[in-house]
Symmetry: C3
Subunit: 260 residues, 3 copies
């Protein structure tokens, strides 16, 4: 997963680097269309997707506005998965669900390409390190161990409940159909899809839950989507355009039967 | 082949599901840019492409406006190929050429992901069923046999000849260069590429056949294209913009030497 | 690498053809977003990327405005890599760096698909020939040997130095962020990234070298980029929009410490 897009040859070059070091390694694309440098979207997409991949999959996640600065690159393991990413919060939503069992700083330049550019660490660090890991290099050889508590926090807030019982969250992702995906998740709220809820965004109330995308009669609806999150949708239209909302917009939730 | 696009992580997640069940299965992308819910374009693209793939290829085709409704998902075999698709006509152009030898309804939830969403059957049904089939699960285990005659018909008409001998068809696809691809096919009409033909679209006559895309002197031409169909093109320009035509537009054909 | 884009099924069909002939062959995408028929961009992207792939990689490069005309298709080997491309200059920047050791004209239709279209040689010639080569077909079997001196020259000029010591080159590529990539390369000029240089484009001087993309205070900067070339960039903006420049624009360079 990167924010490189697929117009320029950057992703193709990363695959070349991997093939050179680890010809038998299978590489799969999650998406390369994370909005440039948007850590929040990257964190959401990765956390919504990783469980569908085989255990022990190594996710190479490059959304890295700090490339070339002093930010660290980390390798992290959870009980079931492995990750290579900048230490900028990109793995934060995953670590909220699965605590890392091992984190190391990727600093041993033995596993980098040389010369190592300041601008394209995807090619010069992420790709070769991923390839060497697949060939059996031990995480400990990549650099010093990091205490998970010392990792950079998520650069955005998690949903929280105020004293009146109302939840406050955000639109964390807008898909290509204009559906507005919130960070109110089934797991956190104990949703079963049959609740009565009310989302408020830009002073407009949207009620739900609808059972399918085809409801609403031209008005926005709330559905529990395939990511397991509450989502505002508009049948045969774009909820984004209808409500004139951008990613990052604040959303509040009223739900009497949700967890608190 | 899907209409999911590659901006969102949906295709990437489907591949993760497949890798989890069938790690050695080779997955190849035909296109994920079918216009959303456009069964006609999906049917055309698949029928124009499938013969170039190895025999026994399993095509997973998801253009599925009825996802979550009572529409069936089918597995179908022809003498040379295998298909997994919604029963909405998406395979109709293929079945016109190759009769299915076996069709079953995909209903055995043993091979689905659980919980099975109402909104993302690509992830929860198509991907895992494809993976299990590759591992040797028999089609009969997926659900009851369907009589091919009971399948949903194509939701659009095939070319037909009127009493005056004129053919009537449609623009079924417009490629990224603005070329207008009709459903008048070489096979159906017995074309050899040297005919004198006249296509009429929006009351404008376009004559052919041109031998290459470079002809026409700034006017639209008719070529027999690499899909084996009659196509209206404009050298160094977009026939779509020039003629102001949309996919689905009616086209008529006069051709004295064509089959009738 | 092609200019086919990924909206239409052309790239997917090429992969099907390859899988049919050489099921075990690993195919990797560099990019399919070369601007249509833009040989200069294709030549630059390929030359900037090929060294990152494993030795003996066969690059299939289709940017081919002359498809269907008398232009030749060539197979070429350098000491480390192999290429299949139209003879139109697309490999020119590579041959400037690595002299070809063998070049043959691809003319033996035994290895083509039949019927062979005039419009889609990617499917009918490039894909099957690449697949047969991977299965051990000898280059000599593809057609007659060509003297490298008889190949089509680059259809654009290389940087040159005038009598005053000023270099003259071009913007050869503009990436998706609007960075302007010149054909002034580290290798040709002996750059170490610490030079004082001045680029002039459209009568505007841009000075460098900056150490990172984050410099410039809202003004364009010159960086030595990850392609190893001089590039004009604008922090948090598009140098392309700022300077209103198109690919192909002339650029001159003053650099006292560069090679001459």
């Amino acid at each position: 997963m990167t924010d490189f897009g697929i117009r320029d040859p950057f992703v193709g070059i990363m695959k070349g680097v991997i093939e050179k070091i680890a010809p038998a390694l299978h590489v799969s694309d999650l998406t390369h269309a994370i909005p440039p440098q948007n850590i929040q979207v990257g964190a959401f997409i990765l956390s919504a997707s990783f469980r569908y991949f085989p255990e022990r999959t190594l996710f190479v996640a490059v959304v890295d506005p700090g490339v070339g600065s002093a930010r660290r690159i980390i390798y992290a393991e959870t009980p079931k998965y492995r990750f290579l990413a900048p230490d900028n919060g990109l793995l934060g939503m995953i670590f909220d669900e699965e605590e890392p069992t091992q984190v190391v700083e990727v600093s041993n330049s033995k596993y980098f390409l040389h010369p190592t550019s300041h601008t394209f660490h995807g090619r010069d660090i992420f790709a070769p390190v991923a390839a060497y890991l697949s060939r059996g290099v031990k995480p400990e050889e990549l650099g010093p161990t990091i205490n998970p508590g010392d990792l950079s926090p998520l650069p955005f807030t998690k949903p929280y409940q105020d004293e009146k019982g109302e939840w406050h969250g955000e639109i964390v992702y807008i898909d290509q159909f204009g559906n507005l995906i919130t960070n109110f998740s089934q797991n956190q709220l104990g949703l079963n899809g049959k609740e009565t809820v009310e989302l408020r965004v830009k002073n407009r109330a949207v009620k739900g839950l609808a059972e399918s995308y085809t409801q609403g009669n031209g008005e926005p609806i709330v559905v529990l989507d395939s990511f397991g999150t509450l989502e505002i949708a508009l049948f045969k239209g774009s909820a984004q355009d209808f409500l004139n909302v951008k990613q990052g917009e604040k959303v509040s939730l009223r739900c009497q039967t949700c967890y608190s």
